[in-house]
Symmetry: none
Subunit: 221 residues, 4 copies
DNA sequence: GATGAATGAGATTTCATTCAT
DNA sequence: AATGAATGAAATCTCATTCAT
């Protein structure tokens, strides 16, 4: 994990954060340790030693150990929940004229797969610590409800009205999609250490399963 | 959490464990605290104080804090993974004559819902700690691969041969079912604190989604 | 270390002590552990476990850990300092008619060699603990000054008057003999673990060295 | 025990160690307590309190209690075994032209007497702990065999060839000298608390005893 | 006599945090 | 900004001893 990686990891709204070498080193080692052993089982002195800085230096930048955690986790939550639409595929899909659930789903999934693969440690930290820190829970809920939920509900309602989606309650459908995708991501990229052999094939199968589950079959039209 | 509850929680193979009052109190408070704050953030002195015993008493029964964790987690893993087929519904389903995927699924889901509702704290501890303790990971993997996986694969293959299931690879189907059910359980019973309003309705919807996803439609026969 | 050995080890004035099996087991394991790790670094629970008795049982026989130590050490001091004149050689030597320094010395040395070889662990414990326990120091000093010192001084004075010994102060001579013999015993039987090859030859050389050091040469007469 | 004393006590190869005031205080109190009560019976909290530092401070400098012991004992072993030839007497003796066993012995003894008187506590600690710590035993053996034994054997062989020493095996002679001198040192400076009245006279008598024991009499030539 | 669960004081060690330099 | 010695509270664990059975 070099400085540039840390920098893009923690940037918000495309604005890069300024990082000294030492600060970057601290963050890098904090991320590694939090991911591997958990926040509570990681000591600041260990981070300092691994980062090659004095113990006091950490506290110069982050008033407390918890602040260090939040400095890492907060940008992570935002990026995990709110896809950053830089890639081509998702840009096309958002073009409202030609939207189809399948394409939307495919774009979303590939985008999140890419994100999780690139930010495995960060995602791991968020998952591991969310149960223990109310601040993280609230940041998560808050971000989801304001940044994503309304847009997604709107889009799904549209599809429902166009007869392209079943008549189940939106929330049930959404939970179904999210828990299936999240289950896949966690299982394949966070829990397992072995790389996946037929990644694309697996993803396509999952998409079909979800679409079938939603009675959505564009091929039958 | 009274002694009787702890006792059934930790029993293995139906053999009840012998617990003194103090030991039960220690386990009860350990479970509560591990679930709420995590293993690493829970101190033995806190457990002792809450359980009304001297700190030394904990270490008389469990040589180390980690032993205390494992005493709780090991029976939990087994029971979480291997359903204990005591209830009526699942007994009927296992009757090989009339097995149908839908009934099997329904029985499995209700059985696990019941288990998770009854053992929320324990399930929470397993989930939270599995990432940090290799022993737990291995116990989990081991138990799953030896006790459950072979039987389930066999049953699904049967269904496939009878044309009652799609032709996707068994592992993909299995992961789909498990991650959907687990996603539901986690979301509804572990993460959320609010009780569910239309529990049965939600479960039935999920069953239909999964069945549709698997191209399994007994109604069309 | 069986019960009979412990019994003779702790007997005083030829009167055997009564020992139950448990008591003997406790003493045996206490001796082993005190000798190997030292009194302070040995725990009573370890002794209990090794002896196959309950922790409380030790305290039923010995009110405190220190009492257990003293029960072992006190008879040991007495026997280490005051030779128990059972063997033939020393009996003959004490016959006043024919006493010669060389014979006296030889008898004394062989007698103590025998004792130390038989009671290595006990001697080790005394040596190791004497620095830390005033009670042991005093028992040692007391025993030496009352039971041995006067007799030895008297004998040496006799020899001096007969011209069979140098004219140095008795105390200097005595210290020379004792520290040489003790140095030998410690070095050969307590510190070293390897058995000695030419034991008798070594002892005879030491005797000659001491005699020469004391200007005592009966052969020149 | 002031900082300067600790400094020279722990220096190796004439290179002084850097000591903060606190570190010196910790070492001073550790030495006092280890010497008086033994390592196992001394608590770090006692040392901290007496040294006027927080308990954590000890562990900042010495990762474990055992490290603290070894920091004290290791330089001590070296200096106890390997005389540091700073004083006049020993320098002269090492001048090969005029070496005589008597002078060599006298220089060695006075040098070690001086050392033991100056470093009583340290010597006491080494003696008391050597039985319990394999590390110390090995450091001792190692240091003796590599730094001292070969030189001394060579010198004694020379003397033997010149007919200035008996024909006993070198090892026997060496053990005789060392155990006599060590016995004297231990007895007079470590075990006894009272100061010696006629120190020089006692030492000279001991020298004569040893020389006579070795059949070495340069006056008769 | 024997047990062993229970105690609570205290041992070693860890760790987030402070602060003088 | 950076250091790292120092802190002291708290963490895990040990242990001699007691006591009800």
């Amino acid at each position: 994990m070099d400085k540039a990686y840390i920098q893009q990891l923690l940037e918000l709204d495309g604005e890069s954060v300024k990082l000294t070498e030492k600060k970057a080193a601290i963050l890098a080692k904090a991320i590694e340790n939090f991911a591997e052993k958990g926040y509570a089982a990681t000591s600041t002195s260990e981070i300092a030693k691994q980062a090659g800085v004095a113990e006091g230096t950490i506290f110069r930048h982050y008033p407390s150990k918890k602040d260090l955690l939040m400095a890492i986790v907060k940008p992570g939550i935002l990026k995990l929940i709110v896809p950053y639409f830089a890639d081509q595929m998702i840009q096309e899909v958002l073009d409202p004229e030609k939207v189809e659930l399948e394409e939307l789903l495919r774009a979303f999934i590939y985008n999140r797969v890419k994100f999780v693969k690139k930010n495995t440690l960060m995602v791991r930290i968020i998952l591991q610590e969310i149960a223990f820190h109310q601040e993280i829970q609230e940041a998560f809920k808050q971000t989801f409800l304001t940044k994503i939920y309304p847009k997604v509900v709107e889009k799904l309602k549209e599809l429902q009205q166009e007869g392209k989606l079943n008549e189940y309650p939106i929330d049930t459908t959404l939970r179904f999609i999210l828990s299936t995708v999240m289950g896949f991501l966690l299982h394949r990229y966070i829990l397992l250490s072995e790389p996946i052999k037929n990644e694309e094939q697996e993803i396509e199968q999952m998409i079909q399963l979800i679409l079938d589950g939603l009675h959505y079959n564009h091929r039958s039209e």
